[in-house]
């Protein structure tokens, strides 16, 4: 009951924020609505008992990535861009594609509801263990190599963004 209420309010927050993000004229307004949308997604993580991802979403997305976006918006002069057309010439093709894909998904979910039915959810393990602890167990045993590869990816991204943004190398 209370879960249902929370789900629909977070879903409304997420979708409303997303729609306003892609339709606002000013990039700063878009960034603000994106923060609302990301906070809604964080609430959905909490509803699904993914507490660690909730914290990561708030600290990293809302605190980190959005700060980066706002810095760049301040750095790059967007006043001139805000006065011009906001959508390109193919916007109606994009809209048709998106609506068609959405209709297709809805049609298949409706017509194949029997085939789409998911297996009943697994029962939670009786051992009471924190989400972060279980996550760390899996991450540092089963997924150790991808974890190390991710660190190389981040290193490459750091070097790449410095090279891109620097005036003269």
């Amino acid at each position: 009951m209370i879960d249902t209420l929370f789900f629909y309010s977070f879903a409304l927050l997420t979708l409303l924020g997303a729609i306003l993000t892609v339709t606002r004229r000013s990039a700063v307004h878009s960034a603000m609505w994106l923060i609302v949308s990301l906070a809604g997604v964080a609430g959905l993580y909490l509803l699904q008992k993914a507490e660690f991802l909730f914290a990561v979403q708030i600290v990293l997305y809302v605190g980190g990535i959005m700060l980066l976006f706002l810095f760049v918006i301040m750095l790059v002069n967007l006043d001139e861009a805000a006065l011009q057309r906001q959508f390109n010439k193919q916007w109606w093709i994009a809209l048709v594609c998106v609506v068609a894909t959405g209709g297709l998904v809805l049609y298949f979910v409706r017509s194949g509801a029997g085939a789409f039915r998911l297996a009943p959810p697994a029962q939670a393990s009786p051992v009471i263990e924190g989400n972060t602890e279980r996550l760390a167990d899996v991450l540092f045993s089963q997924y150790l190599l991808p974890f190390e590869v991710a660190s190389i990816l981040l290193l490459v991204a750091i070097v790449g963004s410095v090279v891109m943004a620097k005036k003269r190398i």
Binding site: A18, L68, A81, L118, A124, S161
Partner: protein, 103 residues
């Protein structure tokens, strides 16, 4: 009055978020907002992964969500760096004015 929330609800929400993000990527001209739409798409993927992680009581979904966030951070950093370099050279942030390679 209220139906209980199932995994299917989360999947439909994720599909809707993905479509909104796709519309933003395809239709907007401002590169900053295109990058924000990409973040929306990656978040839709994450909702999907966490929903199945909760459904199957398997932690792998949440691990993959962390990796998706890592890739999103790297993408945002490099993308915004490219944007700054572009603005320095072409004085524009509109995607359809960058048509040097177009015939």
């Amino acid at each position: 009055m209220f139906h209980p929330i199932t995994t299917t609800h989360y999947l439909m929400l994720s599909a809707a978020l993905l479509l909104i993000g796709t519309a933003g990527v395809l239709a907007r001209r401002n590169i900053v907002i295109i990058l924000m739409s990409i973040e929306l798409i990656l978040n839709a993927v994450n909702i999907n992964l966490v929903a199945f992680s909760n459904h199957l009581q398997n932690m792998s979904g949440q691990i993959f969500a962390i990796f998706v966030i890592t890739v999103a951070v790297a993408e945002a950093a490099v993308g915004l760096g490219i944007l700054i370099a572009l603005f320095r050279n072409k004085e524009t942030v509109l995607a359809d004015e960058v048509d040097l390679l177009k015939w």
